[in-house]
């Protein structure tokens, strides 16, 4: 009886009695969700255009952030370092296309998936070799990102919002919006959408598959850089971040592998679900359930909608 009360009543009582904490939890969930969305977005871009399930997205986040800080530490001014990192991501995109995707064209999905594992290992080694494995402090100040927080006294308590988190939310929205415009309005964007449906269709638009691959990997690199800056500013830049990138997988499950809005909505659902679950129900299990909660949310969801949030119902044909 007591247990039932703790599971079904008590958390809601808590939400009612301390609304400021509830709002704060929602905010934290939202911000975490936005960051998950950004990682998932990188996955989606690449999967949509090249059918590659890019396991290396997580390490690209670390690599980009590490490169940014690394350049800065070598005396490059912050904005120039940002530019250099973007160039580095472009080089990476070219290298990936030339050295991995092109030789492996037409191979099975799992082979390409595996190749991105190889890429992950390579980037871990390469990143640590060049920039060192020790964690670095994100240069958010030098980049002009705000620090400090707003404290809103409300609801009988206060809600604290980090300026950097607000900036993260704004930058993420801008990024999604510009990607949306890019896909809808530009010739290359249309070609990208075409390639998602049929590779041959893309050729007829007059853009080669190779170019498209470079573009999507570059775009995913930029998204990774943005994610790395934001998450790096929250804690710091280290290889431990990589494991968090796995959280993008349940997000993808919810949102579907090819849907950009799906990645955003999925990320926010996972972020909110995880924080609320941990905060209100976690203590029942001795806390720390965040480790698997996201996956279980995704799993339960899948059992009812195997095609994901925005996916269409699959009709099997033979």
């Amino acid at each position: 009886m007591h247990l039932l009360y703790q599971i079904f009543i008590d958390p809601f009582v808590q939400m009612g009695t301390a609304p400021d904490l509830f709002v704060q939890t929602l905010w934290e969930g939202l911000v975490t969700g936005v960051l998950y969305s950004l990682i998932a977005l990188g996955f989606v871009l690449i999967f949509k255009a090249s059918g590659v399930f890019n396991f290396a997205q997580g390490i690209m986040v670390v690599f980009a952030a590490l490169a940014l800080v690394g350049f800065y530490e070598h005396g490059v001014p912050a904005y120039l370092a940002l530019g250099l990192t973007i160039v580095l991501m472009l080089i990476l995109a070219f290298a990936v296309e030339r050295l991995i995707l092109r030789p492996l064209v037409n191979q099975a999905e799992i082979i390409l998936f595996m190749a991105t594992f190889g890429l992950t290992y390579f980037l871990i080694g390469f990143g640590e070799l060049i920039f060192g494995g020790d964690p670095k402090v994100m240069i958010s100040g030098a980049l002009g990102l705000p620090s400090g927080s707003y404290q809103i006294k409300t609801l009988g308590g206060f809600v604290q919002m980090q300026k950097i988190d607000i900036a993260a939310a704004i930058i993420a929205s801008l990024m999604v919006a510009s990607l949306g415009i890019f896909f809808q309005k530009t010739r290359i964007g249309r070609a990208l959408r075409a390639v998602a449906d049929s590779h041959r269709a893309a050729l007829s638009v007059g853009i080669s598959l190779e170019q498209i691959w470079v573009i999507v990997w570059f775009a995913a690199g930029i998204v990774a850089l943005a994610t790395g800056i934001m998450w790096g500013a929250r804690s710091n830049v280290s290889f431990a971040l990589e494991i968090i990138a796995l959280k993008a997988l349940p997000v993808l499950i919810l949102g579907g592998f090819t849907s950009i809005p799906g990645a955003i909505v999925g990320g926010i659902i996972i972020g909110l679900g995880e924080k609320i679950g941990e905060f209100y129900w976690g203590p029942l299990f001795g806390s720390g359930i965040e480790d698997w909660l996201a996956y279980v949310i995704a799993l339960v969801f899948l059992l009812f909608r195997p095609q994901g949030l925005f996916g269409e119902r699959i009709i099997e044909r033979i």
Binding site: R313, I315, E316, I318
Partner: protein, 266 residues
């Protein structure tokens, strides 16, 4: 090819009957109120232009799709909601329009999978692969080798089917269906994409199966010549509706059929 008196003498008891079956996918109607029957020992053809609902019909018969309306009676028993393997257990085997072989396996293994239903030895025996398990395996191998001989694919036994030419793949697929020793064999365009020699071979096999094993066959085919030569009775579908049913000769003369094939506006 067929003896002229074919249609009359091949008539046996009704093996399977389809009554008022309708099937739709989210509002799109694939099959509307279709009824026909298949009799024991006959070769029954289902024809019609593209998108007529032929393959959907086969999918309904072997339980892959569940019709919204109508009833299917197999061997005198009406079937409720069933899964495809129930159909397989009941004795319905099938080949597919786009070859649905197990591409990573050899031709021999593909045909052997057809025997899975008939194999009885449990997991532990399978683990040991000695004594009864091996005996069973060998026994079924004998049956499979017979089929392989019958279809003349001895030399490609060990080749992964993904590497075989299309015509041979179709033959292996027929072999896999035959290995199930079905009472009713559904063939979905068994001759699609074949050249004339291959078609002749395949026709020969189909007739032989019918004669030699006494298997009832329902087939979908586009090549009218083949259909007319092979089949005892023909049912014609168009836009999911049955427009004709009868002997090849009757169907050939049917005005609705001629219109459907020539694309006369309704």
């Amino acid at each position: 090819m067929r003896a002229p008196s074919g249609p009359e003498i091949a008539v046996g008891d009704v093996l399977l009957s389809v009554e008022n079956v309708s099937l739709s996918f989210g509002g799109v109607k694939a099959v509307t109120d279709v009824s026909f029957d298949i009799r024991k020992g006959e070769i029954r053809a289902i024809i019609g232009p593209n998108g007529a609902g032929k393959t959907s019909m086969l999918n309904v018969i072997n339980g892959f799709y569940h019709p919204q309306q109508g009833r299917i009676t197999f061997k005198g028993k009406a079937r409720g909601h069933m899964r495809p393997y129930d159909a397989a257990y009941g004795g319905i085997a099938r080949t597919f329009q786009n070859v649905a072989l197990f591409r990573g396996m050899t031709a021999l293994d593909n045909v052997m999978t057809g025997r899975s239903l008939k194999m009885r030895r449990g997991f532990l025996w399978q683990l040991l692969r000695h004594g009864p398990a091996l005996a069973e395996e060998v026994e079924h191998r004998h049956r499979v080798e017979e089929i392989i001989d019958f279809l003349k694919i001895q030399d490609i036994r060990r080749v992964p089917v993904g590497r075989l030419p299309y015509g041979l793949q179709k033959r292996v697929e027929l072999g896999r269906a035959l290995a199930m020793e079905p009472e009713l064999l559904l063939l979905d365009e068994p001759m699609a994409g074949m050249n004339i020699e291959e078609k002749e071979d395949m026709s020969r096999f189909i007739l032989d199966v019918n004669d030699y094993y006494g298997t009832t066959i329902a087939l979908i085919e586009h090549d009218m010549g083949v259909v007319m030569d092979l089949s005892d009775r023909v049912v014609v579908l168009d836009h999911g509706i049955k427009i004709a049913d009868g002997t090849p000769d009757d169907v050939k003369k049917d005005q609705a059929v001629i219109d459907a094939y020539l694309g006369v506006a309704h």
